[in-house]
């Protein structure tokens, strides 16, 4: 790991006013330090977010507010989260390991970099790490990579589970930048598809930080769950995962939310499958018809072809389980 300086300012104002180009924020450090050890990134200075005062989990007018520095373990265990937004708790409990969840934070999880093996090994070219150098994954080991949202420049997936749940729930992010105050942005507009600039991953401006995540409540949120399919039973990234929320009354689906993990360049919503469910009866044949369309638009790079059928089956299992 290259040398760097570490500064520990107090409060959001202190953090933002101390920021200068070349700095990186460190929260739990669980992703950043892996990348620094492998020289994938080499910031000159780290700004420690520990004293940012952004650790709280609270309810504001019925909406859930997650401070960016709340740990994955704290959010997963929170009683209101478990009752009103169970898909969030489940997505987190199926993430990483207990030790990582005690360290990793909400903000850091949303900004975890891709697990594409070429990206994380500086011995290889990679358009995301070194723009214009090429993408060895297109013809190489792409078994774990994206079937939705990729481009001829990059087919990396976003690896985190929490933002899949948050995407299904229409979460919004509060962002704060040096000199320009705060703004609120839907999570759906936060992530950027790779196109021909795969190194630009989010809408974050220079020096801008995530301060807070806001999640609205609703019957679809209360009746929600997370299904994660992986190579081993525990402590592994998703091959395919599905966050689903269904609002059902009198046997009729009033609202449906579905987002996928492990398959998209960003957490991937399925609006056409949701539309196929709304207004229909909550029964197996409706679920089967809707889930059959979950792979529509998918593009395989070769070794990841199995994910298309696995996506349909994962969505079907999630729908049947949440309606049971």
């Amino acid at each position: 790991m290259q040398s760097f300086e570490l500064i520990r300012p107090r409060g959001i104002d202190g953090i933002l006013s101390d920021w200068h180009p070349g700095d990186a924020f460190i929260a739990g450090g669980t992703d950043l330090l892996q990348l620094m050890k492998n020289d994938v990134v080499a910031p000159e200075r780290l700004t420690d977010l520990d004293n940012s005062d952004l650790h709280a989990i609270s309810l504001v007018d019925g909406s859930l507010h997650l401070g960016a520095l709340a740990t994955m373990a704290e959010v997963a265990a929170h009683v209101d989260v478990k009752r009103e937004w169970p898909v969030i708790s489940q997505a987190l409990l199926l993430s990483a390991s207990p030790q990582v969840r005690n360290m990793g934070t909400v903000g850091g999880n949303l900004l975890q970099r891709t697990r594409c093996g070429y990206f994380r090994d500086v011995g290889f070219d990679c358009n995301k790490r070194r723009p214009g150098s090429g993408c060895p994954a297109l013809r190489g080991d792409n078994r774990e990579l994206a079937i939705f949202g990729g481009s001829s420049h990059c087919i990396a997936t976003h690896p985190s589970d929490l933002p899949v749940a948050l995407m299904a729930l229409d979460a919004q992010l509060d962002l704060a930048a040096p000199g320009s105050g705060t703004r609120r942005l839907p999570l759906a507009q936060f992530y950027r598809l790779p196109g021909d600039t795969p190194h630009i991953e989010t809408a974050l401006r220079p020096g801008e930080m995530i301060t807070n995540v806001v999640v609205p409540p609703g019957p679809h949120a209360r009746n929600s769950l997370y299904v994660k399919v992986r190579d081993r039973t525990s402590f592994a990234f998703a091959l395919v995962s599905a966050a689903v929320g269904l609002a059902v009354s009198d046997g009729v689906i009033r609202d449906a939310r579905i987002a996928l993990g492990g398959v998209g360049a960003m957490p991937w919503r399925l609006p056409h499958v949701e539309a196929a469910l709304r207004g229909q009866r909550a029964d197996t044949s409706v679920f089967e018809t809707a889930a059959a369309r979950a792979g529509d638009g998918a593009i395989s790079a070769g070794l990841n072809k199995f994910k298309i059928e696995l996506t349909r089956r994962t969505v079907l299992r999630a729908l049947r389980t949440v309606a049971a």
């Binding site: 300086e5 620094m36 200075r45 373990a73 030790q99 500086v122 039973t233 402590f235």
Partner: protein, 197 residues
């Protein structure tokens, strides 16, 4: 104790030798890069197992390397150095965390417990005794991390069934496959109703 003031070359050498999955190409790329900035090591007081230790820390020194290279507390093990194996598990302020992904300078003012801090004099912690009784190890390399995780697990209360124990121990990998005996050891400590601890 290897050296209290390692040179950059020595640090890189150690890191390269211990990074299990790095390729020859990435090692070459690593040594070509000049340091982006140099922060001299400075002295810091870190509280480990109830004692204040004075350590020479650069910002980049991990808690794992600080313990293993600057103290005689060698029980905490380095497996992957990437968060994936759990061999380096310690407790910070009572919570189980990975010392390989923790910067030591961020631990000032916190309470660290390592495997050496569990026993009470010559009396083993009940979890250590149970691992011995149930042969919860073969080569023993993962064992300090397993025991630190197991002690935290009991406190957290995720012990209602063997399946729940296995899930909440899944951050600790054992190449020797001692898993059934590890679960048996934890089961003994929590008792049949899964509630003690």
């Amino acid at each position: 104790m290897e050296t209290s003031n390692p040179t950059r070359r020595a640090v890189l050498g150690t890191a390269a030798a211990l990074t299990a999955f790095s390729t020859a190409a990435s090692r070459a790329a690593r040594s070509e890069q000049p340091p982006a900035s140099v922060s001299p090591p400075s002295q810091a007081l870190i509280r480990v197992n109830g004692k204040q230790l004075t350590l020479e820390l650069e910002p980049r020194t991990t808690l794992l390397d600080a313990l293993r290279e600057q103290t005689d507390l060698h029980g905490t093990k380095k497996g992957c150095d990437q968060g994936a194996c759990g061999a380096c598990t310690v407790h910070i302020d009572g919570k189980r965390v990975l010392s390989c992904l923790t910067l030591a300078v961020r631990c000032v003012g916190k309470e660290i417990t390592t495997i050496e801090g569990l026993a009470d004099g010559d009396t083993l912690h009940p979890m250590q005794a149970a691992f011995l009784a149930h042969d919860g190890m073969q080569c023993g390399y993962c064992t300090p991390g397993q025991i630190m995780s197991a002690v935290a697990l009991v406190k957290e209360g995720h012990t209602q069934s063997d399946a729940e124990i296995a899930e909440w121990m899944s951050g600790n990998i054992c190449r020797c496959g001692a898993y059934p005996n590890i679960v048996a050891a934890i089961r003994e400590v929590v008792g049949p109703d899964g509630k003690r601890g």
